[in-house]
Symmetry: D2
Subunit: 350 residues, 4 copies
Amino acid sequence: MTYYHSYLGLDELLSAQHPLSSAHEEMLFIITHQTHELWFKQILHELESAKNILAQHILPDQQLLLLHSRLRRITEIQKVLIAQIRVLETMTPMEFLDFRDHLNPASGFQSMQFRLVENTLGLTRDTRIKYKKAHYCQFLTQEHQSIVNQAELEPNIHQLVDQWLARLPILVYKDFDFWKQYQHSVNQLLIQEEKSIRIAQLNETELQERLQSVQNSRDSFRTIFEENIYNEHLAHGKRRLSYQAWKAALFINLYRDTPAFQMPFQILSLLVDIDELLTSWRVSHSLMVHRMLGLKSGTGGSSGYEYLKATATYHKCFPDLFNISEYLIPKSFLPSLPKGAALSLTTMDS
Amino acid sequence: MTYYHSYLGLDELLSAQHPLSSAHEEMLFIITHQTHELWFKQILHELESAKNILAQHILPDQQLLLLHSRLRRITEIQKVLIAQIRVLETMTPMEFLDFRDHLNPASGFQSMQFRLVENTLGLTRDTRIKYKKAHYCQFLTQEHQSIVNQAELEPNIHQLVDQWLARLPILVYKDFDFWKQYQHSVNQLLIQEEKSIRIAQLNETELQERLQSVQNSRDSFRTIFEENIYNEHLAHGKRRLSYQAWKAALFINLYRDTPAFQMPFQILSLLVDIDELLTSWRVSHSLMVHRMLGLKSGTGGSSGYEYLKATATYHKCFPDLFNISEYLIPKSFLPSLPKGAALSLTTMDS
Amino acid sequence: MTYYHSYLGLDELLSAQHPLSSAHEEMLFIITHQTHELWFKQILHELESAKNILAQHILPDQQLLLLHSRLRRITEIQKVLIAQIRVLETMTPMEFLDFRDHLNPASGFQSMQFRLVENTLGLTRDTRIKYKKAHYCQFLTQEHQSIVNQAELEPNIHQLVDQWLARLPILVYKDFDFWKQYQHSVNQLLIQEEKSIRIAQLNETELQERLQSVQNSRDSFRTIFEENIYNEHLAHGKRRLSYQAWKAALFINLYRDTPAFQMPFQILSLLVDIDELLTSWRVSHSLMVHRMLGLKSGTGGSSGYEYLKATATYHKCFPDLFNISEYLIPKSFLPSLPKGAALSLTTMDS
Amino acid sequence: MTYYHSYLGLDELLSAQHPLSSAHEEMLFIITHQTHELWFKQILHELESAKNILAQHILPDQQLLLLHSRLRRITEIQKVLIAQIRVLETMTPMEFLDFRDHLNPASGFQSMQFRLVENTLGLTRDTRIKYKKAHYCQFLTQEHQSIVNQAELEPNIHQLVDQWLARLPILVYKDFDFWKQYQHSVNQLLIQEEKSIRIAQLNETELQERLQSVQNSRDSFRTIFEENIYNEHLAHGKRRLSYQAWKAALFINLYRDTPAFQMPFQILSLLVDIDELLTSWRVSHSLMVHRMLGLKSGTGGSSGYEYLKATATYHKCFPDLFNISEYLIPKSFLPSLPKGAALSLTTMDS
């Protein structure tokens, strides 16, 4: 007979709070962090499952819904984590001072699970902001270092998504070559835009500005039309997805209405959601730290708040998916898929 | 040197998940309940502190802010708990079926901490809905029964608030007798209302309806004007606060602008907030259960969902505070406090 | 050249606030209701589109994602509406008293758009709770009455979903007859349950209780196995979906993993979400009214709060979808679909 | 007889949606912006009232609760605005493309009310980020320009709070001189910190690092101890509050438990809340724009997203209040107020 209390391990759980002071608010500090860590465990549980699904060489449609449900659950957890921060903010900075010194030098910076979440999503070592000029690992114990290092070596979600996308053989069907058609459409679009600018009765300044804007677009499109430019950008970290994968992501975004792409599109959207919510959490977290500690600077010269704010700005997991809307074109310019193509897609990967 | 991981007891915490099946979703089920229990622990921590503050025979103003901050924190936690339920709802009923049988007969019904929260707030044994014709205690182990029983014996928040309110000697000052003046104002108000109805050109049906409405108000006010009626209602559970306390609560609501009553008013408002959020949580919880299990009825004939829905409707902790607005009167009819009275109030209880 | 201010009709919008008093809080009261009404308009916009999609005799897969996105948007709006109520609660009952009398007898009860939302979802006249013994229409102007009456006559979402479900010819394929197989599985399940009870060493009371519980399940399943019982329940309002539609809904829930049913399952889930969020909104709304007005009873004898609380309990739009989990069975007992069946489903309705 | 529909101006409100295309999602775009603008109007309504309260030369305690309730309401509205953004995100970038061109060049950048909110809070022209090298006013019509310019000239919340704080004569009482005592305490604290570092057995690197950290603190405290340094920082925009006001804000934060400072402390906290929520909204908004448009750059070279992200980072209204926790000291070091002082404070400003 299962009993609620023992099933949930409540004896262990409810005796795992070890305040170092007698300050009333320390309990809140502990519990808020503990619930964060429990949810991180859950996120990792979902990410592991997502990795396993994505790692299948042939990803049957049936598995896409599963993947979708894993990712969506992560977003719901993230919303709770953001909401939780407001609870900790009911503690005033003065109350925090009552026990802050006991914590020294412990900090959320040492959360191994949070690093695992970042690493599993695909944040790479070289894109990370440094704190006090040091790599995050140096603040962890040997044991934890080896765990997060291991996670850095394993294929992460970003890589697996890249491979999944790169595998989708979606771009040519009989005499329909999506990529050629798309380039053609973009060019038509830009030509038309330029024409309508020249026709409009603008003063010289406006005219030059608007034409410059079209030129900017043209330059931007070149960076995806020419594979060598793309790959150069890739090498410099301006892109993260491989060329094949990037094109597939664009294709899915453009043809999201097609039944075969509805679920892939929802999955790409969820990856952007996760990235966005992670950023929102980072911002809320950094504001809370700012409020609690001011700009108190560490020995390395940068304050905790400034470090956290920087991660909110720069630590993106799926920047290419975020930026893709720049390359979408209106439906009226979109090459229509040949009937057979749409059909062939459904069975392609299953 | 404090280390984040050990400070938070993460070894204990993150190994306290013991799934009974290999179903992927069981982890979510466990973690959601565990985070609930951690937050319950935090709520109990705040409630204990609130009880200690309220138990002081003389409650200095300085302590009111503290009490306020304890209660407000509880409301912020409750908002997180409500939000958390949506995470569990990402599990489908079919997924729940995968491990549901292993849990039998464990149920959230057996959460000792939740009972402690209810008991500490002041939910009494005789106002509780029964489940399967049995008292909630019967579903707990002996050890847990004795803990919740003990909590029922200790003074709860409702009682302590009652005593604090009853102690406020706020109602008479020189020749100003609040209670007399208030009754007078109410009568004036009702007379004026009746007059304006009789003047208005209404058809007979409307006239009778509107007059009946005034009569209803008059009857309602009688139940608070006459102490013996009030006490009769109290004996039958229609009121929960003692007469003195009830009048003080009304007074505070009426004169919330007066500096001395700003903080007491905020405290009473927070008690209503807590009650309201508890109800919202119960509703969200019962809807989630409904969705997971349907109306599956237990052996006692009532389903879990129906029981939970009933508690959402009937388990109120501070019904009198909720109902008090019925007895508020417009500022224009409100007797103005003599200058000295307002001043004397500030120092009265400190 | 489009200008933000004029595009959004802000001159009209921002001059549509006409307070009847000089009370500061009346503006909040107006704006909160106005934003509600704007969102109601948006919900109706999505519901109209959903109706058009569902009304297509042959519903291509392509349209399912569209339907899904319409319904999901409604749920996101509902979450905002629930959150909005907390803003209005920053007004105290005393502040409300400052202008309450000017509003008489206007009430949210007279929101035509809210009635349209209810009617379009499928709340029927005969399942509505009465207020002051009167039908809701009687509180509206002639013009608005005719609009909501018209909406009652048009096919609503519930009916259209019923027709869509009833059309799904999903239940028989070659010698596989889902309905027969499912009944067989349920019987096996119940027999096994009974056996395991008889084997377990229980005392007489427990034994009888557990056996009774199995019997309850058996009775419950009979109400769906036997069409005439089902239809009788339908006639008495205990069911709302036609027998065919109900079986299809069950089928979709059971086989949600099958690619062809992933989107239909998500759509059914969203309908339950909408119903659940509507209930949550009703509860939050009724608690807010309770807080503002107490139990002040109207001329008809029932208070506004009690009426609203009753609607939260009884006004369900898709009760059958909510209850369906009662009839789900574990995967291990689930008849597996013949390969061809799964495939044939994909193209059946498109 | 007031009728709900006409009272709320619903004829005007619900006919103020003028889509320029037939795209389904344009309605969502309009309604989301319209509800934003309605809430902006409400925020301005509260800010006006807050300004009037703060502008009183003598601010009685009674008015502080009122001010508190105005500010708290603004925070609740801000939470709704943040939540609303998720509704707009249910529109996909492709759906936005369907009508995006019709809007050109209108943009949220032209929201006059949002500028009024910023200006009324106290965002100054010289601290604003420029967009396309131009001042925000240049994107508005003449009429709207003159309205926002006018708002820049009027006293804003930041200035009024500064004046209110500067007026509090709270720092000297008989031989108790808070500012002297506080400086003394800080010095003691830093000396003790240094001592404990020298005693601890640290390696040379650590020792130097930790000593440097104390030195950093010492330097930071100097910037507030020496009025001329403070004023220099003020002149360079590193501080925004006048020296007197800044010290009063610190004092209130340190002695928030004292009854006389409970309400002022809550008010300062709410100003930080408002600033924090405004930043959160800006972040959510910029992420949404990023998602919809990618990094599409305008003619001036910077994309809308990059501009919005920059405002989220730099547009702070009350930076000094945010940073103040850096200068808090533990209770054990806090000079205790002489009894008379605490008492004299209560009546000082009333």
